[in-house]
């Protein structure tokens, strides 16, 4: 084999595909758009959920008779928190608790008054604390438009203050704990380190994000490989190349060039991710939770290489066996669909990551890498399963590379003629695939 020629082909494939508009878009455009979209969504939702500017004054109608503290302790006057005001009407007599009808009439009148104040712009909303609040905790909020999470939280605090104020002196716990009796601290099961909510979500979501990047990068570049072969067949470049370079050299050159391209793409995305992590503390927690050891990273990189080879060899075979780009795309689409099946069946991974379906995906060659990585985030995968999955993937790579080389040699000069499985099987059985790069008459048609 001439490494010089392999390097030439690899270089050509790398730069030609690097300059493709579709590559530039997927390499730079996708992460850029993702970052911009994430930023905008974050800004919009954060603002939407935390902004209390529209809720300066909230009326309170206390049917349960529980409210005793209106001011929040420790809050300054210019705080964003709303001011809670009891709705009252001095002109109405306060009814006895024993007279339900009079109570209903009284509170209905108060609600009408609150509504009038709301319509007049004096209130931004009002609460009606239900009669049975101490039993069922119901607080009705009347307002318009979006209710930010911060308002719900503030109302919760407000009610917490009312409950705390009524705690008996003898209670041997902090009164405000009555309103929120637990303070969860989540810890990593292995290290015992405290984990934030973002970190917990990150631990589950990161493998999915990684698999997504993984599949996108691999399938994009493997499709370039396939398109290149089909183009060389369609334009008849293949026949000229066949007199300059051995099929195996061409094959390896293309695979190396596109593997480098794939790494470039992932490198760009990782750089974008690192930028995000460096600039946002939340993102740092999100990523840090995965706690990847060097061995884990080596395993993931190793699986990426295997997966890329498997994908490339398969796409190469499809390209060599197809007659036109449209046809090869259809077949390649099926392969991509199979690979993303674990993503589609994500619910089964969440509900039972060690169940039969995730196990099947772990051991099926085309989904083994994605299946395994998805499970890493959700369960402790037994060592024997990792080894078996890797072994299956390695064997599959060798089988596919061998088959792809046969198909490539057999199909590379078959212009306008599909290499059918039957033809391939016949050629493999007769052992001629290694001897011939074959022109049209493999299945008996006339030679020129």
């Amino acid at each position: 084999m001439s490494w010089n020629k392999i390097f030439l082909v690899a270089k050509r494939e790398y730069w030609f595909n690097f300059k493709r508009k579709s590559f530039l878009f997927s390499a730079y455009g996708v992460p850029l758009l993702t970052l911009v979209a994430m930023f905008l969504i974050f800004q919009f939702t954060a603002n939407r959920e935390s902004n209390l500017d529209d809720f300066a004054r909230i009326g309170v109608i206390d049917r349960a008779g529980i409210v005793s503290v209106l001011d929040a302790p420790g809050l300054s006057a210019d705080s964003d928190a709303p001011e809670y005001v009891l709705i009252s009407d001095p002109s109405l007599p306060v009814p006895d608790n024993d007279d339900p009808e009079a109570r209903d009439a009284y509170f209905t009148a108060l609600e009408q008054r609150a509504r009038e104040q709301f319509d007049a712009g004096e209130l931004d909303g009002y609460l009606v604390i239900a009669d049975q609040y101490v039993m069922n905790g119901v607080v009705n909020l009347y307002t318009e438009g979006n209710i930010p999470a911060a308002l719900s939280s503030d109302i919760g605090s407000f009610m917490g203050r009312q409950v705390s104020a009524r705690a008996p002196e003898a209670l041997e716990m902090e009164a405000n704990l009555l309103a929120q009796p637990i303070e969860e601290v989540m810890r990593d099961i292995d290290s015992g380190d405290e984990m934030s909510e973002a970190a917990l979500v990150g631990r589950m979501l990161l493998p999915f994000i990684f698999v997504f990047i993984y599949v996108l990068a691999t399938s994009t570049t493997a499709q370039y490989l396939m398109n290149g072969i089909v183009e060389e067949k369609e334009t008849r470049m293949m026949e000229i190349l066949a007199t300059s370079i051995r099929p195996t050299e061409l094959l390896w050159g293309k695979m190396l060039g596109l593997a480098a391209l794939s790494f470039t793409q992932i490198g760009i995305w990782l750089a974008a991710g690192a930028l995000l992590v460096m600039s946002l503390e939340g993102a740092r927690e999100f990523v840090g939770a995965l706690g990847l050891a060097p061995l884990d990273i080596a395993l993931v990189v190793f699986m990426f290489v295997i997966n890329f080879l498997l994908f490339s060899a398969t796409m190469l075979g499809i390209g060599a066996a197809s007659t036109a780009e449209a046809e090869s795309r259809q077949i390649a689409g099926i392969l991509t669909f199979i690979t993303v099946l674990p993503m589609a069946g994500v619910v089964t991974f969440f509900t039972n990551p060690d169940g039969p379906i995730p196990l099947f995906f772990t051991f099926f060659p085309f989904t083994a890498a994605t299946g395994l990585i998805l499970r890493f985030g959700l369960t402790t995968v037994p060592l024997w399963q990792i080894i078996l999955s890797l072994a299956i993937q390695i064997v599959a790579v060798f089988v596919m590379m061998w088959l792809a080389a046969k198909i490539f040699r057999l199909g590379m000069l078959m212009y306008g003629k599909r290499l059918t499985p039957r033809t391939l099987w016949q050629a493999l059985r007769e052992g001629r695939a290694t001897l011939t790069t074959a022109s049209a008459p493999v299945d008996g048609a006339a030679a020129k």
Binding site: E239, I240, S244, A447, K448
Partner: protein, 311 residues
Amino acid sequence: MNTPLNGCAICVRNVTKRYGNFTAVDALSFDVEPGEIFAMLGPNGAGKTTMIRMVLDILKPDTGSIEVLGGPISDATKDRIGYLPEERGLYRDVPVIDVLTYLAQLKGVPRAEAQRRAATMLEQVGLEANIKSKVSELSKGMQQKVQTVATVLHRPSLVIIDEPFSGLDPVNTQMIKDLLYDLNRDGTTIVMSTHQMNFIEEMANRLVMIDHGHRVLYGSVQDVRDRFAEDAVVVEGTGDWAALPGVRSFDLSETGREVTLHLADGATPDSIMQSLATNSGYQVRRFELAVPSLTDIFIQVAGGNNNRNGG
């Protein structure tokens, strides 16, 4: 200047190639001499392309042997061959200079040298303005010139071209012809496979005609034509052709300007010429041996074989 070879540029000995039950090439033997322009002709499906692919080591023969440029074909030999297939193309979305440089580099030419040569040759074929154009932006004729340049850019010792002039207008045909003559003058052996017999008659030293995988004609172009020469002369002039001594019969051409005189037993072209010269009833403007064109020979041989094979 290419190094002269002592042996043959291509030696084909008893080569057979089968695809299943179909025999594409059957016990074929021929030699291509170094420095000559050699033509390979035959009807469609005769086995020419299969034979060329075997010479180039794209296909392996089932039996027989092929030697190229002095020995069995190797990677080093391939770098000394330029090949332009009949069904040809180039990377479409790549600048002309890049395609040419890449293909020359694959043949072992250093990058800078490949770029320099490409620029020179593109100028030679009138495409200097298109050096950075993408292949897809060129006309069909322009693309064909680029393909021809790609075939010879690495200065091969042997050039194999399938249908070199198809699709070219007369000006471009002449340009490519000049290019091939220049290469040949520098010692490059040229093998062309074509259906355009006039180019073979004009350019080729020798030929092999293949039909149904068999060699049906082989030798120098002149020898082949002489072999098929009729016992007749072609005359342009006036006179009573039936009364001319030594003439068995005559055929008037469709234009009526020339006549083919078929010679009687014992008559020779010399005796006919003498009769015409001594007889004042005849006026002669042109007199030549009735040697058939290669087209006639091709039709005669290929047509005869087709009839025998029921085709």
